[in-house]
């Protein structure tokens, strides 16, 4: 836990430095080619960009710790130019997007994890048969093709040739859950194709790795069926590596889905992130990065805890 927090702190420094190393800043970009140095300096002063990197970092970190993610540069300007009051905070901007991303990740996980683990178990059970090879080839080719390609193939078959699902996932607030789910299905299926291979292959490998163990031989010599041997005797001992791979893939679902979001016009955090980088909206970029890092760390921490819980030696000490 302490280690996780320390990692997060180090990551926050790396993020802050890296983001500030980006060439050009918001002031220059927003004012364009004909900007006068005075105007650029004025905006920088307004945004606090004229202060030193260190003081900006601590200001930002302090805000983070108190739950204040800062204000978005872009929204701030828009609002003040239009005469509106205050502006939009980063938190307000990210929150709905993040919720959408979590929704997509959850739907994908609910589809992908059971499929991957079941396929892995079956591949281990029927190892070196046609089924095993077919499962391997299919999942491997789906992981090897670019995501956008898989996305367009699915759109072609499930939205264009057979219009079962909508190809655009423009979900918005206040939408009925069923509509939302329907619109999310196609990107979720695309992501399922991407993450299944890794989890399935790890499940298969972790189980097969154990099949030479004396206790597996013992289970066979007790006359247990092959399926029971694998599910009851091998799987419980293979959980730790499987859990870790699942955690890594879930983290990917939160942090690495930009391409899929763009293809389906899904309003997730990935798109917001890319847009913010384009206009150097630094508070948003930093907050997104930190959320991604936190997601990784949190999921891996959870995986470690679950791995420990899956080990009877640690659960029931002598």
């Amino acid at each position: 836990m302490a280690l996780g927090l320390l990692t997060l702190l180090i990551v926050s420094i790396v993020i802050f430095v890296a983001v500030n190393l980006l060439p050009g800043d918001f002031a220059e970009l927003i004012l364009g080619q004909g900007a006068t140095p005075e105007a650029v300096a004025k905006i920088r002063e307004d945004l606090g960009l004229d202060q030193s990197l260190v003081s900006r970092y601590f200001g930002w970190l302090g805000g983070m710790l108190t739950g204040d993610l800062g204000s978005s540069f872009a929204q701030l300007n828009f609002q003040t130019n239009l005469g509106g009051a205050g502006g939009v905070t980063v938190a307000e901007q990210i929150a709905p997007r993040f919720a959408n991303t979590m929704f997509l990740a959850t739907v994908t996980a609910i589809i992908a994890v059971p499929i991957a683990v079941t396929l892995g178990i079956l591949a281990a059970l029927y190892r070196n048969t046609v089924f095993d090879r077919a499962a391997n080839i299919l999942t491997l080719s789906s992981i090897s093709s670019p995501e956008f390609f898989m996305a367009y193939v699915l759109i072609l078959f499930l939205a264009v040739l057979n219009p079962i699902l909508p190809s655009l996932s423009n979900i918005y607030e206040g939408m009925a859950f069923s509509d939302r789910l329907e619109k999310t299905l196609l990107p979720a299926l695309t992501l399922t194709l991407v993450v299944t291979a890794h989890m399935m292959r790890m499940t298969r490998a972790a189980i097969i790795n154990l099949l030479a163990s004396p206790y597996i031989e013992m289970a066979r010599l007790k006359g247990m069926s092959p399926l029971r041997v694998i599910v009851k005797h091998a799987l419980p001992n293979a959980l730790a590596p499987i859990i870790n791979v699942i955690a890594l893939n879930l983290a990917y679902l939160i942090t690495g889905v930009v391409v899929v979001e763009v293809v389906f016009v899904y309003p997730g955090i990935g798109q917001l992130f890319v847009d913010s980088v384009k206009i150097r909206d630094i508070p948003v970029v930093q907050a997104c990065c930190l959320i991604f890092a936190a997601a990784y760390i949190l999921l891996n921490l959870t995986a470690d805890i679950l791995s420990i819980l899956s080990n009877p030696r640690l659960r029931h000490p002598k």
């Binding site: 030479a212 163990s213 004396p214 206790y215 031989e217 013992m218 289970a219 066979r220 010599l221 007790k222 006359g223 247990m224 069926s225 029971r228 009851k232 005797h233 419980p236 001992n237 009877p312 030696r313 029931h316 002598k318």
Partner: protein, 548 residues
């Protein structure tokens, strides 16, 4: 022959290595009557386990049955469908493996694994089977039979696990149990308890059994009949008493004769002599757990000091203290009268050179990627600074010393050698540093008796020629008898008794030494029965050890 339970005819098995199939068993016949116990003995690689598993119609990966028949109670196991076989395995034919610690699933409680057979085979309901399991635990004299089943395998000791596994094999009241070296991994005092339990329960339920072991004295206690295997062939079969008193084949006689090696006694050590290595008041701990308490003993030049005791008694920890791998928390280790730094990192190269080790598992102690020549040359170069032709000449001389032809073995890899040959390489590597003192940690316990005797003879010869001092860690008292000059008995991290061998094998003993000595199985088929009567049922093995 209606009471024939198992009938194996002309069974041939092959194992695959390097893409070719090589014979493991070359046509063995075996019959077993109901309630009969057949002992199957031979060296490792004789095909005992493979034959034992084949008797269940089971082969491991990379093994196939090429010919013959296995008939169990009229059912041909080789042609029967997988489903039919599954219906028999666990229900009518059960298996007890060598290492219970590895053969119990670490993820489930003992009782859950116990009831799995009866429930899945539809023999008993879960609740009945649990109660029955507890009864069996009690019959096998496990402590707390009511609750021990609710523990996980890692929470139970090795001897207890082995009995729990026997109980599990009994769960469906099978007609036949295959015992595959069930006591090999256990200490002698624990072994007795397990042997007695197995024998009782097999008798009580009139279960037929095949008892596989390499230990003749053990099989003499357990079997009605003995079959001797050598490299996949049957040597001879006879009932136990005939086999022990009048073996007909040369090979069997040689097995019987192994235990006769014994070195002549040496003159007692001169009282004023400076010991080569002296362990004085040593305490040691792993983390907070203190494992050695005030251990002291001396080892003199040209002598072999055998350190005996059960696993966990602190034998190997003492060795780790002497080598400096585990610096003692108190006390000193001196070499030739001078105290050595406790930590090996602080010792000089010469001090390191003088203390060498030979390990129990030659398999894991030799780098599989290095040739024999490179393995031996490494200490030659490191300690003696020899290079080029001189180095090669020294390695050749060392190979000569361990009676292996240099030109033949120099470029081979460890994987191309037999277990005994690998152990010889381990000896050569230790000798390469030209040490005065060698620690031999259970160097023969992984070897067959004939091979082990060869190693012991070689070590004795080298000692006579080079004046080496050995610290010989072992739990096998037959080895002690063969090679030791002095004996140190350890228990729970303390020295219980120490002295010249002649005195140690003569009463009166410390009660623990007595227990150890009397627990070593003898080649007398009545030994176990007599011993149990002598000790009384409640005072055997573990229980007796605990009372001390």
């Amino acid at each position: 022959m209606t009471d024939t339970l198992l009938n194996i005819r002309g069974l041939k098995l092959e194992g695959r290595s390097d893409e070719t199939w090589n014979p493991i068993i070359n046509g063995v016949d075996l019959t077993l009557a109901r309630g009969e116990v057949l002992g199957l003995i031979g060296e490792s690689g004789a095909g005992k386990s493979t034959l034992g598993l084949a008797a269940m119609g089971f082969t491991r990966d990379g093994v196939r049955i090429s010919n013959g028949s296995v008939e169990f109670d009229g059912i041909d196991l080789l042609t029967a469908s997988a489903a039919v076989k599954r219906g028999l395995l666990g229900k009518r034919i059960a298996y007890v493996a060598q290492s219970a610690a590895a053969s119990f699933n670490p993820a489930h409680r003992l009782i859950d694994q116990h009831v799995e057979g009866p429930v899945q085979h539809g023999v008993m309901a879960r609740a009945d089977s649990e109660l029955d399991g507890m009864e069996l635990y009690e019959k096998l004299r496990l402590p707390d039979p009511e609750s021990i089943g609710f523990r996980y395998p890692h929470q139970v000791s090795g001897g207890q696990l082995q009995r729990a596994m026997t109980a599990m094999a009994m769960a469906c009241r099978p007609d036949l149990i295959i015992f595959d070296e069930p006591t090999t991994a256990l200490d002698v005092t624990t072994q007795i308890e397990v042997l007695a339990s197995i024998r009782d329960i097999v008798e009580q339920f009139n279960t037929a059994a095949i008892y596989i072991t390499h230990d003749l004295a053990v099989v003499a206690q357990m079997a009605d009949r003995i079959k001797v295997l050598l490299k996949g062939d049957e040597v001879e079969t006879a009932d136990t008493r005939t086999m022990l008193s009048a073996p007909t084949q040369e090979y069997t006689k040689s097995l019987w004769a192994v235990r006769s090696f014994e070195r002549p006694l040496k003159a007692p050590v001169v009282a004023s002599a400076v010991p080569v290595v002296s362990v004085a008041n040593v305490d040691a701990a792993y983390g907070k757990a203190k494992v050695l308490h005030d251990v002291s003993f001396d080892m003199h030049e040209g002598r072999t000091v055998a350190v005996v005791g059960e696993s966990g008694s602190g034998k190997s920890t003492t060795a780790r203290c002497i080598t400096g791998l585990l610096p003692p928390t108190a006390g000193t280790i001196s070499f030739g009268g001078e105290a050595m730094p406790a930590d090996y990192r602080k010792r000089s190269k010469d001090q390191l050179r003088q203390v060498q080790m030979i390990y129990q598992m030659a398999d894991t102690a030799l780098n599989p990627r290095m040739s024999i020549g490179e393995i031996i040359a490494r200490p030659v170069q490191f300690y003696l600074g020899l290079t080029g032709k001189e180095k090669r000449a020294r390695v050749d001389a060392l190979l000569d010393q361990i009676e292996m032809e240099p030109s033949e073995y120099y470029n081979r890899l460890p994987s191309e050698l037999s277990g005994g040959q690998k152990q010889r390489i381990g000896i050569a590597r230790a000798l390469a540093a030209e040490p005065k003192f060698i620690i031999c940690d259970e160097v023969t316990s992984a070897l067959d008796q004939l091979v082990a005797e060869g190693i012991l003879r070689l070590l004795a010869k080298l000692q006579d020629r080079l004046g080496l001092t050995y610290m010989f860690i072992t739990h096998d008292l037959a080895t002690v008898r063969a090679i030791a000059d002095e004996v140190v008995v350890m228990k729970d991290g303390r020295v219980v008794e120490a002295g010249p061998k002649a005195e140690m094998f003569k009463p009166p003993h410390h009660p623990y030494t007595d227990l150890l000595l009397s627990s070593v199985p003898e080649m007398d088929p009545d030994w176990l029965t007599n011993l149990l009567q002598e000790r009384g049922v409640d005072n055997i093995g573990d229980a007796a050890a605990d009372k001390m």
